[in-house]
């Protein structure tokens, strides 16, 4: 793993983890923005919170990078909604980020484990 200074680590962690959250949630199926936000909210037991502005800033950024793709979908009896799904590139990014995250968490765990006397 490359070495990074603390400031950068903090920033990358925040940004990268948020991206990872969204990419992971879109892995199984396509979802609209509010659904993504609700899932983050419920699955993190309210610890992680996004509001509309920050969520969409992230969604549009991921879309702009070509990792996810938004599409208007009309379903019978509902208003049309914009659904986001993972692109092929997004899947690769997700796999890479996931392994970085896992090795990061493992590294942190190793460091922060209470030392046995």
């Amino acid at each position: 793993m490359q070495t990074i200074n603390y400031q950068k680590l903090d920033r990358e962690l925040k940004k990268g983890s948020a991206e990872l959250l969204i990419l992971s949630l879109l892995e199984a199926r396509s979802r609209h923005g509010y659904e993504v936000r609700k899932l983050i909210d419920t699955r993190s037991n309210g610890v992680l919170k996004f509001n509309a502005a920050s969520l969409y800033a992230l969604l549009y950024r991921l879309e702009n990078r070509g990792w996810i793709e938004g599409r208007w979908v009309e379903k019978a009896g509902q208003r049309r909604r914009r659904y986001y799904k993972l692109t092929r590139e997004g899947k690769q990014v997700l796999a890479a980020q996931r392994s970085i995250w896992e090795s990061f968490v493992a590294a942190i765990n190793r460091v922060t484990r209470p030392e046995n006397a």
Binding site: A52, A53, S54, A57, R82
Partner: protein, 904 residues
């Protein structure tokens, strides 16, 4: 629910995002806020509090705007957005139109399929008729080089090709400076007897430079040369077809001796595979030098020196750069000189050059005339298909009003939208054209299947395969079709009626003008199919009438076969012995009831005409002739009205006799009995006739022969025993299967002379079918296309009614809710359909009369306003209308007022 959009827009205002993108973001965010608000409400918050908490969601909007700004900077150059008109890059626009069009077509596969199939039928019908015309009139001769420089030399008088004498040919050949070569040919048929069963083959007697002038290449060996002609060599060139078939492509055929008309010829070469002679529609198999006549018919060789004997067809190749006018002028000049030197024979001959070797201009004009009507028919089918598709497009256009309204609102110009719609429709048309070619190939095959091998005027051995002309034709038809069926809907759709288009949340609102335009299209379809069906009806009636014509003889179970006796093996007495033996052998065949010989068939055969000079006043009466054996009239069941039949006693030693028909009896000997009257066959005033007068011994009933539809012409039968004919047609009436009889006939003739081919073995009924080819073709073609038109018009009507019922669901529901009876609802729909059909028929009436008038020369025994045809066709159309009304009308009566009104 609070309106969020006014809160969101100011946040994005500073970004100046492209309007469509901005609208999408605003919509997406406002939906998010809706969801959020609803959840807060359901969580028990007061509306005001819920609204406040919802708006907090936008609190960090600077993150969003920063993100969007960054995205905008990174974004590639201005994307092309449908509906924008900023770009002037045609190619990019076109590419975009094509992609968008393809997406729209794939989105509605059912619609696309129906449209493409409809167009394929319409375009295919046109392709088929064009392939046919192309084969007959446009395809150049095959196997010759630069066919455009080849010209036929013809006499000034008359419109058709005409022939010339050998001395004339030599003069034109040796004194012109405009041709790189001038050649002549004479048609001939040959009995080919080499090893296997004898065969009758078509061939040509040609000048030595024939192949040179045409630029034909040999496939094996060599072709004929001027030396072959000048040295009277008995050599022959055979066709690739004959070489492949009869000689199994044996290269050893070169140098082999074959027997043609009982003379030995050495095969020197095989012509190029492509080359099948220069007569369009015929396939030649043998070419021999003209000068072989000096060996095979020494007594007839004098013809080479006779300037008055016109028996050769002359054609030549213009030198490069020489126009046909210049060539023609020089030939006229030579003709004038010939007139002065030989005024007796060459006077008024003149000479002109006719472009396009292959088909006589008179036959060409006839073919062109015959193809006009089918072309009109398929044109009508295509128009109906266009109207049908235009109707479908109009219906779909209504569904796309919102889409187009949005694009117009976003600043697209009307022209840009029309171009997009045209591109989409052009794609449909081209798909239809592609499938149309396949349909065309199939229809051409069917068309060729119903053609006879030949009619008296024209042989049909044409090459009907597709070529680039057919492709170009189909392509341009498709493009034109696309333009035709899409212009009106495109104009209509892109009318800038923005407000209503955008407001319209769903498309159930009634659009009277749209159904009005569609109604007009349906009326057009009905009118056009009415015209076609009337034409078809008249043709079918004509064919029925033609089959019901009293021919004056019995054509049932009559087998005919041709046998030509070659002159070098059969002089008159040997020929007569052969013919007598043939009759005797045939008579004993099982199943043969009666038989007779004749020089000509009554139908579908060439004619022999001359004149007679009754003894009393010596005024010439024009007649048609046939030479028949003594049982012929009985065998044919041609009734003798008065007098006696020919007998075996009417031979060359007996006084000359003849049987005449009623018409000749009335014309030559009006108001008196012609029996015992005598006439001469030469003009007595010119004198010199060595033959004695002919006595009328009987009057036979008129028969229909040469022209089925004309009154009988004056006709004379001469006895075969007094007028020997080397070529005869055997007429056999039998009780057994004609196929078996045909084999027996070949066997018996072969037993008499194994080298003698028996050919054109056909039933007399088949000859009638051939004689009725134009009528039959028209009847089948126009009926087929008429039914197609009917089906298309029926579908068009159904589509319109179904659409209009769907559009009027609310109105119908309201009517039913207000107490309207189901019957009156049914009537509403059916009357709508009937009104359109009746209007269409009314409009089609004068047009159908016009088309019938154009076909007049092909109609028989039926008036142009035949009430039966008009009644049957009208009833058919009305029946189809009712069938088309049925489903929509039923659907209308099933409308549930509650459901219909709830939509409101």
């Amino acid at each position: 629910m609070p309106e969020w959009k006014p809160e969101i827009r100011p946040q994005l205002a500073s970004l100046k995002i492209e309007p469509m993108r901005e609208a999408a973001i605003v919509e997406e965010l406002s939906q998010y806020l809706d969801d959020c608000y609803e959840e807060l409400l359901s969580g028990g918050l007061a509306p005001a509090e819920a609204e406040r908490r919802t708006l907090e969601e936008l609190s960090e909007s600077e993150i969003l705007t920063r993100e969007l700004r960054r995205a905008k900077q990174q974004a590639a150059p201005e994307p092309i957005v449908l509906g924008s008109n900023w770009r002037t890059n045609m190619i990019a626009d076109l590419w975009q139109d094509l992609r968008y069009g393809a997406r729209m077509l794939m989105k509605n596969p059912g619609f696309t399929l129906v449209v493409v199939l409809t167009l394929a039928l319409g375009i295919g019908a046109n392709t088929a008729i064009f392939s046919f015309i192309n084969a007959l009139l446009f395809k150049p001769l095959r196997g010759v080089s630069e066919p455009e420089r080849l010209v036929q030399v013809s006499r000034k008088e008359g419109r058709g090709f005409s022939s010339c004498s050998y001395p004339d040919y030599l003069d034109y050949r040796d004194h012109n400076t405009v041709m790189s070569g001038l050649a002549v040919k004479a048609g001939g048929t040959f009995n080919l007897s080499t090893g296997r069963e004898p065969e009758r083959v078509e061939g040509e007697l040609v000048s030595g430079n024939f192949f040179d002038v045409l630029g034909v290449k040999p496939e094996q060996g060599r072709l004929l040369t001027p030396a072959d002609a000048s040295e009277f060599r008995m050599v022959a060139v055979i066709s690739h077809r004959l070489w492949q078939g009869r000689f199994s492509a044996d290269p050893g055929v070169i140098g082999r001796t074959i027997r043609l008309n009982a003379y030995d010829y050495i095969v020197v070469g095989v012509a190029d595979q492509e080359f099948e002679g220069i007569q369009a529609g015929s396939k030649m198999d043998v070419w021999v030098p003209l000068t072989t006549i000096r060996r095979t018919d020494p007594s007839g060789a004098g013809v080479f020196g006779m300037r008055g004997a016109w028996w050769l067809e002359m054609f030549g190749r213009l030198k490069p750069g020489v126009t046909i006018e210049r060539g023609g002028a020089e030939f006229s000049h030579i003709a004038r000189r010939l007139e002065q030197t030989c005024p007796d024979t060459s006077a008024k001959f003149g000479a002109r050059l006719v472009p396009g070797l292959g088909m006589d201009p008179v036959v060409r004009a006839g073919v062109r005339r015959l193809t006009i009507i089918p072309f009109i028919a398929v044109g009508i089918v295509l128009l109906i298909a266009c109207a049908n598709v235009a109707g479908l497009l109009l219906a779909r256009a209504n569904a796309r009003r919102r889409e187009i309204g949005t694009r117009l609102a976003l600043g697209a110009s009307r022209a840009r939208i029309i171009r997009q719609l045209l591109t989409e429709n052009l794609m449909l048309a081209l798909l239809g054209g592609g499938l149309g070619i396949l349909a065309g190939v199939w229809m051409t095959r069917w068309l060729v299947g119903v053609l006879p091998e030949s009619t008296p005027n024209l042989s049909f051995k044409f090459d009907f395969n597709l070529d680039w002309r057919v492709f170009i034709f189909t392509l341009s038809t498709s493009v034109l079709t696309g333009a035709l069926f899409s212009l009106a809907p495109a104009m209509q759709t892109s009318k800038p009626d923005l407000v209503s288009a955008l407001k319209e949340a769903n498309s159930t609102g009634q659009r009277p003008s749209r159904t009005g335009l569609r109604g007009l299209l349906v009326v057009t379809q009905v009118a056009l199919s009415f015209v076609l069906l009337i034409a078809a009806g008249l043709c079918v009636r004509t064919l029925r009438n033609a089959h019901a014509i009293d021919l004056g003889y019995d054509i049932e179970r009559m087998l005919t076969a041709r046998i030509d006796l070659p002159e070098q093996n059969y002089n008159e007495s040997r020929g007569q012995i052969f013919q007598r033996q043939l009759i005797e052998r045939m008579r004993t065949l099982p199943g043969v009831q009666a038989l007779g010989l004749a020089a000509r068939l009554p139908l579908n055969d060439g004619v022999s005409q001359s004149g007679i000079f009754p003894e009393r006043d010596g005024k010439r009466v024009h007649t048609f002739n046939n030479v028949v054996s003594h049982h012929y009239l009985d065998a044919m069941k041609i009734r003798l009205l008065i007098g006696r039949q020919f007998t075996e006693g009417d031979d060359s030693r007996a006084p000359r006799v003849a049987i005449i028909n009623e018409t000749l009896a009335r014309r030559a000997w009006p108001n008196e009995s012609p029996l015992g009257k005598r006439f001469s066959t030469w003009d007595p005033q010119e004198g010199g006739g060595s033959k004695s007068l002919v006595e009328v011994i009987g009057v036979a009933r008129n028969i229909k022969g040469r022209d089925l539809f004309e009154p009988a012409e004056p006709m004379i039968y001469y006895p075969l025993l007094q007028n020997y004919q080397a070529g005869i047609v055997l007429h056999l009436r039998s009780t057994i299967d004609p196929e078996r009889l045909a084999a027996a006939v070949r066997r018996e003739a072969g037993a008499l002379d194994p080298d003698l081919p028996v050919y054109r073995v056909m039933l007399l009924t088949d000859h009638l079918t051939v004689a009725l080819t134009p009528q039959r073709l028209l009847a089948q073609l126009i009926s087929g296309y008429g039914l197609l038109a009917l089906a298309l018009a029926g579908t068009g009507l159904y589509g319109l009614l179904a659409y209009s019922v769907a559009q009027r669901t609310q109105e119908i529901g309201l009517r039913i809710a207000l107490g309207a009876e189901r019957v009156s609802v049914l009537k509403l729909v059916v009357l709508h359909g009937l009104k359109l059909t009746l209007l269409g028929m009314f409009i089609g009436l004068p047009a159908s009369y016009g088309l019938a008038k154009l076909m007049k020369s092909y109609l028989y025994g039926v008036s142009l306003t035949d009430p039966l045809t008009f009644a049957v066709i009208s009833a058919t159309l009305l029946a189809v209308t009712l069938a088309a009304c049925y489903a929509p009308a039923r659907r209308a009566t099933k409308v549930d007022p509650m459901i219909a009104l709830r939509c409101e």
